[in-house]
Amino acid sequence: MAATLVRLSRGVSICRRSMSTFSGQDHVETTKGKRMNLFSAINQALHIALETDPRSYLFGEDVGFGGVFRCTTGLAERFGKQRVFNTPLCEQGIVGFGIGLAAMGNRAIAEIQFADYIFPAFDQIVNEAAKFRYRSGNQFNCGGLTIRSPYGAVGHGGHYHSQSPESFFCHVPGIKVVIPRSPLQAKGLLLASIRDPNPVVFFEPKWLYRQAVEEVPDHDYMLPLSEAEVIRQGSDITLVGWGAQLSVMEEACADAAKEGISCELIDLKTLIPWDKETVEASVRKTGRLLVSHEAPVTGGFGAEISAAIVERCFLRLEAPVARVCGLDTPFPLVYEPFYMPTKNKILEAIKSTINY
C-alpha cells in the first residue's frame, strides 16, 4: 500500500492507498456529468435533497461551515441556517432530535462526524428509530431519518478515527444500513436513502472522500437499496464486500486474473436488508465464496453472509467460505498495515480457496 499523505481539512489526513475507481453503470443513465471525488458527490446529493424537498433538514457537528470532511460545503449559505445547522456536540442528541424531526413528516439528514462516535446514539438508533414504526402499529414513523457517518480506515486514524461499526447496526430490524463504494454510487445511494421511508444508517468510506474520483452524472438520480451489484464477472470464486474494501478486492481480483483465476466481485451496497439472491446466484455459479471487510472478523457481517450462503449453497460449495477481515483487536495505529485485510491477504485466500 502506497503511503502518500494527503491533507484533508482540519488536520485530518489520510494515507493514499493505491486503488482504481469503478464506474457503476447499472441503473444510471449515461448523461452529462463531471469527474468528482466522493465528498463532492455527497455534497451534490445533499444539494439535490434540500432543493427538491423543502421539508428536508441537514444538521450535525460542524455541518454549518461545511463539515470537517467538506461534505456540507455551501449548503447553509444556499438553504439557510434554519435548514442546515450546527448542533451541540452530542450524538444521542443529534439522532434523537432527528427522530423527532422525522416523526413530524420531515426528512432529517443527521451527520455523525465519525462512525467511531456513533455509540452514544446507539440507544436512540436501536431502541427508538428502529422500532418507531413497529411499536406504534404504523401510526408513527421516523422513516425520513438518514444518519450519515464517515467510517473505516484512513491510514493513521488509530482507535477512534478508523472503525467500521456496520455489523452492530446490521443486528437491528427496522433500520437499513447502506455503504457506497464510489462517488457515483454515493450520490445515487444517498439520495435513495434520504428518500427511503425507513430510517437509514449511511456509512461513507472516508478513505475515498478525496481518493475516489469518477464521472458523476449531474442530474437527480437514485440507486436502488437492497440490491447488490456484480461489478466484475467471473467463474471461479465469488468475492463479496462493500465500501472502501471493494477497491482492495478489485486489485486482488486483477492479480488473481494474472494467475488464471476468474473472480466475480459483488458490491453488497445495502447490508440490511441484504440481497441474498444475487450473492446466492453467483456462488451457485462459482462454487466458492470469499467475504472481506475491515471490521473485526468475529461477529462481523461477513459471518452472516457466510452462514446464509452455506445454508443455501452447501452442496454447491467446493471449499469453506473464506473471510479476510480486520483482526479481533482495537484498530491499531502503527500496526494498521498488519491489521488490514490487504490485497495480498485476499489474494492468498483466493488461491487457497481455489486449491482447497
Binding site: G93, G96, G137
Partner: protein
C-alpha cells in the same frame, strides 16, 4: 461556606426573578430572603425589587433580561471585562466559588392541601373546565384501581398506576390544545383521558386486542395514538426528550401555533438524553415544554441517591431555559403553570421546564413492592393528606360545583364503563400472525417473507407450541 455575599445575592435575585415570571406570590418567597448576606447598596435595590413583585399580577412573565442586569454584584468593577467567544463577563479580584444549591427553589402553589386558594389572585376556571378536570382525575384513579386489580387477577400481564400524580397529567393536559404534540414517558395516561381516549381504547391496548393501535406488540400501558397527537410510549427512560425537541423545531419551522410537550420523572433527569434534550432545545430555540414529574422515587432509588442538585428546576436554568417549580399535587397550579409555559413557549419560540413536585403513591409498577424500600407511613401520609384528587374536589365543592351525589354517580359510572371495556377486550380477537412481520419496514423485505414462510411450516408441524388465540 465558600460563596460570598455578592454571588449569593445574584443567585437570589435570579431566583426571585424567575419566580416573578410565573407569578409566585410574595409570601411564598419571603422565607427565602437573604438576611445577613445582602451587601449595602444592593439591598436597597433588592428591597425595591422585592416589594415590586408582591403587587405584580399573577400571570406576569416578561423577559428575564431585566433581572440579569440587576444581578450585577457590588464588588465587581464593571469597567474591567473579559471578552471571549461566549460573550462578555466582568472581571473580579475576588475568588468566589459559587455555592452548591443551599437555597431550595420555592414551589408555586395555588390551592393548599384543603383546597383553599392561597394565591391572591389567579385566573378563575370555568365550572365546565374545572368539572372536566376533576372527572378526568377520578376516571384516571378508577381506571388505575381496576386495571391494577385486573393485573393481580392475571387478566393482563402488567400495569403501572398514576396514583398520586393525577393532577400533573390532567392539569397540564387541560392547559394544552390537541395540536400540542405529546412525547410521554409512561405515567401519563391522564393526558390521553383528557384528550378523549376512551376506556375501551385503554383496555384494547392493555389486553393487546385486534383493536389495539399498537397491534398487540408492546406491553400494557404503552399507549399511543396519532389522532390525539400522542406519540407511542417506549420503555427506555428519557429517550423521548430529544424527540420532543426535534418535533418542536418542526412546529416552529411550520409556524404552527403549537408546541411539543414531554414528560419524564426525577430518575429520567439523570439520563444523557435529558442533558441532550435541554441543551438542544435551548440552542435550537425549540418550543417544547419539559414537564418533570419529580415523585421522589425512581423505582427504589430516592432522589437523594439520584442527584444532589435542587431537583430538576435548577438544571433548566443552567441550560438557559426558563424554569418553574410547581406543586404537582395542585391541579390548579399545574394548569396555570403549563398554560403560562405554553404561551411563552409558542409566542417567544423557546423551551420551558416545569418541575412538578409530587409523590408516587403507588408502586413503580405491578412488578414492584415499594414497601420493601420505603416506609409505609410515608406512603400513607401522601395518600391521606396530600391526595391531589381530594384537594381539587374540595376546591370545586367550595365553588359549589360538585356534590356527593355527582361524586357517587361519576365513580359508579366510570367503574361500570371500565368493567364493560375489560369484558369486551377479554373477548376480543388478537390480530393475525402476519402482523408479527409488518411495520418493521414500510414494506416486507425478502428475509421477513422467508421467515414468515418458515414459521408457518413450523406451526403446521407443532401447532401445540403456539398460542391458540392468534389467528394464523
Amino acid at each position: 461556606m465558600l460563596h460570598t455575599r455578592s454571588t449569593f445575592t445574584g443567585f437570589l435575585l435570579k431566583t426571585v426573578g424567575l419566580l416573578r415570571n410565573v407569578g409566585i406570590p410574595a409570601d411564598r418567597v419571603v422565607n427565602h430572603r437573604p438576611r445577613a448576606s445582602v451587601c449595602g447598596s444592593r439591598s436597597d435595590r433588592f428591597d425595591i425589587f422585592y416589594d415590586r413583585i408582591s403587587c405584580l399580577p399573577v400571570r406576569f412573565y416578561s423577559s428575564i433580561g431585566a433581572e440579569r442586569h440587576a444581578a450585577k454584584t457590588c464588588d465587581v468593577d464593571e469597567s474591567r471585562v473579559l471578552e471571549f467567544p461566549g460573550g462578555t463577563v466582568t472581571l473580579t479580584s475576588e475568588m468566589n466559588f459559587m455555592s452548591e444549591s443551599t437555597v431550595r427553589i420555592p414551589c408555586y402553589q395555588v390551592l393548599d392541601d384543603n383546597g383553599q386558594p392561597i394565591a391572591r389572585s389567579f385566573e378563575q376556571l370555568s365550572k365546565e373546565l374545572a368539572v372536566k378536570m376533576y372527572s378526568d382525575m377520578v376516571t384516571l384513579q378508577t381506571m388505575d384501581t381496576i386495571f391494577y386489580e385486573a393485573q393481580r387477577q392475571g387478566r393482563i400481564s402488567f400495569y403501572l398506576t398514576s396514583t398520586g400524580e393525577e393532577a400533573i397529567t390532567i392539569g397540564s393536559a387541560a392547559a394544552l390544545t390537541n395540536d400540542d404534540v405529546i412525547f410521554p414517558q409512561y405515567r401519563e395516561p391522564g393526558v390521553l383521558i383528557w384528550r378523549g381516549f376512551t376506556l375501551q381504547e385503554f383496555a384494547n391496548q392493555c389486553f393487546g386486542t385486534e383493536a389495539d393501535y399498537g397491534k398487540g406488540r408492546q406491553m400494557p400501558i404503552h399507549y399511543g395514538t396519532n389522532k390525539l397527537n400522542y406519540f407511542t410510549v417506549s420503555s427506555p427512560i428519557a429517550t423521548q426528550l430529544p424527540h420532543a425537541v426535534g418535533a418542536a423545531y418542526s412546529l416552529k419551522m411550520d409556524d404552527k401555533k403549537a408546541c411539543a410537550v414531554t414528560y419524564f420523572g426525577d430518575g429520567g433527569t439523570s439520563e444523557g438524553d435529558f442533558h441532550a434534550a435541554l441543551n438542544f432545545a435551548a440552542v435550537m430555540e425549540s418550543p417544547v415544554i419539559f414537564i418533570c414529574r419529580n415523585n421522589g422515587w425512581a423505582i427504589s432509588t430516592p432522589t437523594s441517591e439520584q442527584f444532589r442538585s435542587d431537583g430538576a428546576v435548577v438544571r433548566g436554568i443552567a441550560y438557559g431555559i426558563r424554569s418553574l417549580r410547581v406543586d404537582g399535587n395542585d391541579a390548579l397550579a399545574v394548569y396555570h403553570a403549563v398554560k403560562a409555559a405554553r404561551e411563552m413557549c409558542i409566542n417567544e419560540k423557546r423551551p420551558i421546564l416545569v418541575e412538578a413536585l409530587t409523590y408516587r403513591v403507588g408502586h413503580h409498577s405491578t412488578s414492584d413492592d415499594s414497601t420493601k424500600y420505603r416506609p409505609s407511613d410515608e406512603i400513607e401520609h401522601w395518600r391521606m393528606n396530600r391526595d391531589p384528587v381530594t384537594r381539587f374536589r374540595k376546591w370545586i365543592e367550595i365553588n359549589g360545583w360538585w356534590s356527593d351525589v355527582e361524586e357517587a354517580e361519576l365513580r359508579s359510572d366510570v367503574r361500570k364503563q371500565l368493567l364493560d371495556a375489560i369484558q369486551v377486550a377479554e373477548k376480543a380477537k388478537k390480530l393475525p400472525l402476519a402482523n408479527l412481520f409488518t411495520d418493521v419496514y414500510d414494506e416486507l423485505p425478502s428475509n421477513l417473507r422467508e421467515q414468515e414462510e418458515s414459521l408457518r411450516q413450523a406451526l403446521k408441524k407443532n401447532p401445540q407450541d403456539y398460542p391458540a388465540d392468534i389467528p394464523i
